[in-house]
Symmetry: C2
Subunit: 186 residues, 2 copies
């Protein structure tokens, strides 16, 4: 059975491909631009995008949506992380966090998968950490240079090898939950 991942973000495509390949699952990546709704819930956004992707492609598809939720900023940038990254970027987040002691944040990933004749199935993963005081590293993408995962040694996601990041990241957790379920149901 083919498994198609729909995304226009190549950093995300590479991570998900590498994660699933390590679990013996190959994917096709299709860069279809989908509608995302405005919602505070990543689950709702990815479920709706997945239904749209399935409607367009007519084959088993999954999508992934992720966001960075900063406690001191009431969850900002959350589901709008991609837009916020494109506009104010890491520099903007660091400016907003200047002088803030509470730097707790988490990344969350939601995967939505749709198979013919079935409702959308959801998987998620969370990675708790802290916002750094300056951007560090050149790996990963998006807010990775300013996020230091709790389960780490103080380096940011962008300072880690992809395998290292994948082992502890929100996306790694969501993808592994998805892969386990796929193996059980195949």
């Amino acid at each position: 059975m083919g498994l198609t991942f729909v995304t226009t973000n190549m950093g995300k495509a590479n991570e998900v491909r590498s994660l699933l390949r390590a679990l013996g699952i190959e994917i096709d990546v299709r860069a279809v631009k989908l509608t995302e709704i405005q919602s505070d819930s990543l689950e709702e956004i990815s479920m709706r995008s997945c239904e749209e992707a399935y409607g367009v492609l007519g084959e088993p598809v999954f999508v992934e949506d992720a966001g960075l939720f900063i406690e001191r900023l009431n969850g900002f940038p959350g589901p709008y992380s991609s837009y916020v990254y494109r506009t104010i970027g890491n520099a903007g987040i660091l400016k907003l966090m200047a002088g803030e002691e509470n730097r707790v944040a988490y990344f969350k990933s939601c995967i939505a998968y749709k198979l013919s004749g079935k409702p959308v199935k959801m998987f998620s993963g969370v990675c708790v950490g802290r916002i750094s005081h300056e951007p560090r590293g050149s790996g990963g993408f998006g807010f990775d240079p300013i996020f230091m995962p709790e389960e780490g040694d103080g380096r940011t996601f962008a300072e880690m090898e992809i395998e290292e990041k994948n082992a502890i990241s929100h996306r790694g957790k969501a993808v592994r939950a998805f892969a386990e379920w796929l193996k059980l149901t195949r």
Copy 2:
């Protein structure tokens, strides 16, 4: 013919009602929660919301969507102004703008109107101004306390009476364009 404005924002409902009443047009306000899509285009967001509102209510409806676009922040918060206001608020915008000389910004309003058997009709208005250095005033709503319109005397929208704001605001311009069109076609 009844004219229904769909919004859950009561500040917005009051402004639009007062603007249209001054032009001899009465409206019904219905607080239906609509889906908003993620898009950099207010036009696209309001058009899709309007189609949904029409689908739900089955009568002539209009919606309005607005955003604050700050030049130095690449248009941020733009179409996500409501979310950004709820999370980082005026204090967050002022922190992002600390030390910035270029404080140019504009508010934009888009109205989408749907009448039975017709495509959605769009109207828009823009108000150019600057971001203040501190919040001032208690009128209006949202980012009004930090926006000083160009066509003014240095006061923020929140320091003006509603009639004063309406005379120069983005929303005032969009509503007047809408009202003129309504009068021509009725």
